[in-house]
Structure formats: structure tokens, C-alpha cells
């Protein structure tokens, strides 16, 4: 049997396979025994090589084998006792304990009932030990669910249980005892999974009978969005259940959810389709028509500074002007920040940036490809205008002004501008936290852009690092080749000459790596710094005004901060000392400091 492959399947099919194993075990006791032993071996192996997702699945599989009369319930309880005992271990990372508790709890929807029926005293003890371990953990969500499940006497209504149909056969089967299973000890190389950030939009009271939402693994999220598209399309008739969205503050989770989903639906289709689909009463939740907003559009704007230059530029670009010609036209644009124009002519001039970027993006508005071509063609102009940090920030501001109705376009333009080095990652971070974007701060597209920016930075560092390692390897191979050559005429000078270019390259790459890592660290520091400023401002305002801190905006914000930590924990781990000494110091408001402290606890 290809046990390994079966174990790779999703949890949905798990009970089908366990039923099959149950039936086979009823026919052939030895098969059942061998199967269980093989599963335990595989579980041990997975834990040794840090394959935790696989391991959780195996634990669930084993639990369900209890339901299929393959494994005796008391021996399963014994294994869970060993899992929960991990919380008593000393000097181990908290994430290790978290994982074992998670593995225990997450199997209970399958086997809680059976284990309670056979060993209720032991299970009570386990659950109370678990409770005292879980005080303020990210596992809160799962703990609440299990508590509720227990209150409902372990009645679980979502999992398909085919073995029930074969009860008459299975109840005759002889069961096996699990061999005693001790969690493999913690080693220096052990890496435990971080708690997953699961965007919970509904309170448990909203849908007590419903299934647990899957986490934000990329494929599952894709499936969810597709499903939601269908659900909303076919369930719009049930307006009554959704209509409470309309009376709520639009920042509350439910209406926000609907708005964001409609926006995503629009991205996959087109604006008019959504307008046709959405009932008139819900139109306040509909996405904006993704049109370009060109400020120099018609004659009524001719009093705007830069209007005539914009007209000139438009004509020039339509006539396939070169970068130099564009520079020529822009030279005449006055700098509102200065009395006289700079002698060099290219210091930060926001008006130049505004006129050029507005005009170009408007001309290239037709499609992504048109806009990308425009960025490529006039790359030189962009680079020059955006040379300074203020320049970069202003370019981003103008992009937003032009395309604020089309978040998807903003995202792809920002991506392109980073990749072509018109702006850098820190500029994007600063722009996201700027006052101009404050109104959009809780919209999903902003976080798509920020996380995409961080990912690009991370990939960049890895890429250069790999180049460095590859070059070092080449040098090593070169040395090895030379050493194995039996050449009496070996000349010290010639070997130096051979090594020279590679060694130079290595030195250059080393510098490049350090500079990239420094840029990466700076990016995170900027993000954390801006979060702290933003949140502190809110907290102070609430305190002095005597209003409740926990507005929907605040909840969203503080959790976005948590998300940064959890989603990029590996990189951030390198900066703990700096973060502690520079940013997350004791003077910080305790609400904000708590997020940092919780994260530290996960590293311990």
C-alpha cells in the first residue's frame, strides 16, 4: 500500500482511507498492526525532519483509526498524554509546546467523542492541563472551538464518517495498541512552525454549526475566493441575512468583507458585471469604476500650474519623443519649492514629477502593457526625477492620485517601479504609511502591496547571496582543479592571475550582499517605526478623549502589525536586539509592546 501517498491527501479524504484500513484490519489483524507501526515510523520521521504539516495530518489519521476500531482508545489517550507533557519540558521553545498542543487539539474533532467515552477522566485531565498552558496564545481560536465542541458533547457535524456505515463489521475487529510514543527531543536544528495568521472575519457566534475556515495557504485561499464568487452570485437573493451589512459602520468586518470580495470579483471580471449583479440597495458596497483620473484633462483645468507643459508633453509623447526631448520640455517647469531654479535643474521638483507622471500614465492608461511600456521607454526620465527620496515618494503619490480607483493598477505599477529601480522598497513603505493613504490604510490592496514589497526585498537578498555562494564554489572548484593538476611549471604568479577576477567578483558580491541585507533591515525598521507612530497617535488620542481604543480601525491595524511579525518571522528574528533597543522599548504603550513581547515569546 502506498501509505505515504494516502497521508499526503487533504483531511477531507482522511476518513475514507481510515475506513478502508478499518475494514482491512477486520479481515486481517496483522495488516492492521503493520500499518499502524508504519504510520508511527513515518510520524517519527516527519518530526525529525521538521515536516510538521505532514505530522499533524498523520496524528489525525491515527486518531480516526480509533473510530475505525484499528487502534485502541486508551493507547491513543496515552500518546496524547505524552504530547501534552511536552508543555512541562524545560528550556524548549514555546513553539514546540504550541505545536504538540495544536496536534492534540486539532485531532479532537475526529476522535474527541470516542476518547471521552472510553477515558473521560484522563481526557478531562488533559484538557485542563491544556487550558492552564493556554493563557494568551495564538491558539486561542482553536481552544475556544474545542471547548465549545466539548460543551456540545463532542457532536461534530462536518466531518464525513464513512466508517459508521460499516459499524457491524468494524465492531467485530480486534484493535491494536499504539506503541508508546515519546515526542522526539528538541534539538538545535529543530524548527517549529509559526502560528498561522488566519483572517477571521466572523465571530464564532455568527455560525456555530459551520465548518472551520481553512487558513491562508495560497491554494486554499484561491479556492475560497472562487467559491465565494459562486456563493455570492447564487445567494444574493438572501438579502435579509446580509442586509445588516448596510446599517453597520463600513469599517466593521462584515461590510468590509463584502466590499473586498466584490472588488476581487471585479478584478476577475469587469465593473459593469458587478454593478449588474449587486442589488441597488447594496451599491454602497460596490467597488469604484476603475478609471484613470487625469488632472489636466480638459480646458477647465487650464489655470492649474503645469497645464501647458502637460499639453506639450502629450503632443511630444504622441510624436514618439525621446527622453532628451522630454527633459527639454520639463526644464521650463518652475519649482514651487524654490524661488530660483537650481543651477543643475534636477533637484526635487514636485511639479515636474506631477506633470510628467500624470500625463504619461494618462496616455498609457489603456492596459497594463501600455503602462509598462511607458515606464520602460521613459525610464531615464523617471530615474532622474525620482533620484531623491522625496522624489520617489512623490512619484508614488502621483501614481495614487491618477489610479486611486484602480488598486490593481497601482499594485502592478508599484511592482514594476521597484523591479526597475525607479523607487525602492523603503519609499513604498513610507508611502503606505503616509497621510495621503490614510483613508485606504485598512483596504486589502495596501497590504497586498506591502507584503509583495517585502517579499521582493527578501528574494533579492537570497538571490545575491546565492550568486555569492555560487561564485565561491566556482573558486573552490578552480583551486581543486589546479591542485589535482600535475604541472611542474606551476607558477605562483599565474595562479594569482587566474584567481584574481573570481576573487574580485567575490569581494564585490560580498559588498552587494551586505548592502542588500542592510536595505532589508532598514525596510523592516521603517515599517515598524511607522506602525508605532500610527498606533501611538491613536492610543494617545483615545486616552485624552476618553474614548474606547478598540475601534475597528485599531483592531485591524494592530493585527496587521502582528501579521508582519508572523509572516516574515524568519527574517525579523535577525533584528530582535535592534528592535528591542531601538523601537520596542519599555516606554512604548503597553498595547503595542504586547505584540512585540508575544512575538519574542515565540522565539524563546
Amino acid at each position: 500500500m502506498s501509505r505515504r501517498r494516502h497521508s499526503d491527501d487533504s483531511d477531507e479524504k482522511l476518513t475514507v482511507y481510515t475506513t478502508l484500513v478499518g475494514l482491512l484490519n477486520a479481515r486481517n489483524y496483522n495488516f492492521g498492526g503493520e500499518f499502524v507501526e508504519a504510520m508511527i515510523r513515518q510520524l517519527k520521521e516527519c518530526l525529525k525532519v521538521n515536516m510538521y504539516n505532514q505530522a499533524v495530518h498523520l496524528v489525525r489519521f491515527l486518531s480516526d483509526l480509533v473510530n475505525c476500531h484499528v487502534i485502541a482508545a486508551p493507547s491513543m489517550v496515552a500518546m496524547f498524554e505524552n504530547f501534552v507533557s511536552v508543555t512541562q519540558e524545560e528550556d524548549v521553545p514555546q513553539v514546540r509546546c504550541d505545536w504538540y498542543i495544536f496536534a492534540f487539539l486539532s485531532s479532537l474533532p475526529w476522535v474527541g467523542k470516542e476518547l471521552y467515552e472510553k477515558k473521560d477522566a484522563e481526557m478531562d485531565r488533559l484538557l485542563s492541563q491544556t487550558e492552564s498552558y493556554l493563557n494568551s496564545r495564538y491558539l486561542d481560536c482553536l481552544w475556544s472551538q474545542i471547548q465549545k465542541l466539548k460543551k456540545d458533547r463532542w457532536q461534530e457535524r462536518h466531518i464525513l464518517r464513512p466508517y459508521l456505515a460499516f459499524d457491524s463489521i468494524l465492531c467485530e475487529a480486534l484493535q491494536h495498541n499504539l506503541p508508546p510514543f515519546t515526542p522526539p527531543p528538541h534539538t538545535e536544528d529543530s524548527v517549529y512552525p509559526m502560528p498561522r495568521v488566519i483572517f477571521r472575519m466572523f465571530d464564532y457566534t455568527d455560525d456555530p454549526e459551520g465548518p472551520v475556515m481553512p487558513g491562508s495557504h495560497s491554494v486554499e485561499r484561491f479556492v475560497i475566493e472562487e467559491n465565494l464568487h459562486c456563493i455570492i452570485k447564487s445567494h444574493w437573493k438572501e438579502r435579509k441575512t446580509w442586509s445588516d451589512c448596510l446599517t453597520q459602520d463600513l469599517e466593521k468586518p462584515k461590510p468590509k468583507f463584502v466590499r473586498e470580495v466584490l472588488e476581487k470579483c471585479m478584478r476577475l471580471s469587469y465593473h459593469q458585471r458587478i454593478i449588474d449583479l449587486v442589488p441597488a440597495s447594496f451599491s454602497v458596497l460596490s467597488p469604484a469604476n476603475p478609471v484613470c483620473m487625469y488632472k489636466y484633462a480638459d480646458e477647465s483645468n487650464r489655470s492649474l500650474p503645469g497645464y501647458t507643459v502637460a499639453l506639450c508633453l502629450t503632443i511630444a509623447i504622441k510624436n514618439k519623443a525621446s527622453n532628451d526631448e522630454i527633459f527639454g520640455i520639463l526644464k521650463d517647469v518652475p519649482n514651487p519649492n524654490q524661488e530660483d531654479d537650481d543651477d543643475e535643474g534636477f533637484s526635487f521638483n514636485p511639479l515636474k514629477i506631477e506633470v510628467f507622471v500624470q500625463t504619461l500614465l494618462h496616455l498609457a492608461a489603456k492596459s497594463f502593457s501600455h503602462s509598462f511600456s511607458a515606464l520602460a521607454k521613459f525610464h531615464e526620465v523617471f530615474k532622474t526625477l525620482a533620484e531623491s527620496d522625496e522624489g520617489k515618494l512623490h512619484v508614488l503619490r502621483v501614481v495614487y492620485e491618477v489610479w486611486k480607483n484602480h488598486p490593481q493598477m497601482i499594485a502592478v505599477l508599484v511592482d514594476k517601479m521597484i523591479r526597475t529601480q525607479i523607487v525602492d522598497c523603503a519609499a513604498v513603505a513610507n508611502w503606505i504609511f503616509s497621510s495621503e493613504l490614510a483613508h485606504d490604510f485598512t483596504r486589502f490592496y495596501i497590504w497586498e502591496i506591502l507584503h509583495s514589497t517585502i517579499r521582493k526585498m527578501n528574494k533579492h537578498v537570497l538571490k545575491i547571496h546565492k550568486e555569492l555562494e555560487d561564485t565561491k564554489a566556482r573558486l573552490a572548484r578552480q583551486h581543486k582543479r589546479r591542485d589535482s593538476d600535475d604541472d611542474d611549471d606551476d607558477d605562483d604568479r599565474s595562479t594569482d592571475r587566474e584567481d584574481g577576477p573570481l576573487e574580485e567578483q567575490i569581494e564585490r558580491l560580498q559588498e552587494k550582499v551586505e548592502s542588500a541585507q542592510s536595505e532589508q533591515k532598514n525596510l523592516f525598521l521603517v515599517i515598524f517605526q511607522r506602525f508605532i507612530m500610527l498606533l501611538t497617535e491613536h492610543l494617545v488620542r483615545c486616552e485624552t478623549g476618553g474614548i474606547d481604543v478598540f475601534t475597528p480601525w485599531y483592531k485591524s491595524c494592530i493585527e496587521r502589525l502582528q501579521q508582519i511579525f508572523l509572516q516574515h518571522h524568519q527574517i525579523i528574528q535577525q533584528y530582535m536586539v535592534t528592535l528591542e533597543n531601538l523601537l520596542f522599548t519599555a516606554e512604548l504603550d503597553h498595547h503595542i509592546l504586547a505584540v512585540f513581547q508575544q512575538f519574542c515569546a515565540l522565539q524563546a
Partner: protein, 157 residues
């Protein structure tokens, strides 16, 4: 019980395998073409509606990874979209995930099909049918509102 052949099916990743299609206009040997297909980051996407936009394609295919470029397939005469495109990713793994999870799903209410492409070259963005669109739209007999109605030969009758 189970033979090794049956079990090997459980381990296959068939969605990523090469299809039978080979571009007849490819300059080079079959071997060259297959080598390029096996390491390609570019996908051909077919059965699109003529009205499907680059933006929609970017949104859907962006789910499996960062997209480097989308090139819309155009009618050679009209220079308007004619129902196919190329999607190029930065990383092969992202393209593979598109083959696994996006191939065979819907876009604009049509089941789209993805296949490996040896790499975009200038000229390959044009349909190769006699009328300017894709070959398949020359000869088909059915009425397809998203692809210009009846096939070209039917229209000319």
C-alpha cells in the same frame, strides 16, 4: 494486490507534464523544443473570450506567483485580442502551480486551458488562421458568442 505501475500513478504530477502539442513553427529540433518546454516559465493560455482583458488574466494567474509579463494574442489583421495569450512568470515553480491549479478552471465563464510554451518570440502573438485569428476559429461549426460567433468558414458561406 497493487502493482508498482498502479502505485506510480499515485505519485505522478501529470498536470505539469508536457502535452502532445508541439509548435510547428518552432525553429529548432524536437529535442530543443522539449528541453525548452521542460524549463520554461511561460504558459500558453487558450479558449479565452475575445473580451477577456489583460487585467483579468493578471489577477487570475497572479494567484500562483509573481507574473513577469502577459502578452495578449492578437488577430493578425485587426490587431485585437483573438482568444489566447502568453503568461510568463519569474519562477518555474509558479508556472507549474498555474498548470496544476489554474488550468481547466474558469475565467469569464469559460474553461481555459494552459500549456507549456517554449518562450515568446516576436510574431508569436498573432493568430495563424487564414482570416487573422486562431486556426481553431477558422473551421469550427458552433456558435460561440465570446469568440466572434460562428467559425470563419461558416461565416463566409
Amino acid at each position: 494486490m497493487c502493482s508498482a505501475d498502479t502505485l506510480s500513478v499515485l505519485r505522478s504530477d501529470s498536470y505539469v507534464d508536457l502535452s502532445q502539442y508541439r509548435d510547428q513553427h518552432f525553429r529548432g529540433t524536437r529535442y530543443d523544443q522539449e528541453r525548452l518546454l521542460r524549463k520554461s516559465c511561460t504558459l500558453y493560455v487558450g479558449n479565452l473570450s475575445f473580451y477577456t482583458t489583460e487585467e483579468q488574466i493578471h489577477e487570475l494567474f497572479g494567484k500562483s506567483g509573481d507574473i513577469k509579463k502577459v502578452i495578449m494574442g492578437l488577430d493578425k489583421v485587426k490587431k485585437t485580442p483573438c482568444g489566447f495569450c502568453f503568461v510568463e512568470y519569474y519562477a518555474r515553480g509558479d508556472a507549474e502551480n498555474a498548470m496544476r491549479y489554474i488550468n481547466g478552471t474558469r475565467l469569464d465563464d469559460r474553461i481555459i486551458r494552459t500549456d507549456w510554451d517554449a518562450g515568446f518570440k516576436e510574431g508569436r502573438q498573432y493568430g495563424r488562421g487564414r482570416s487573422g485569428g486562431q486556426v481553431r476559429d477558422e473551421y469550427r461549426q458552433d456558435y460561440d458568442a465570446g469568440r466572434g460567433g460562428y467559425g470563419k468558414n461558416v461565416q463566409c458561406q
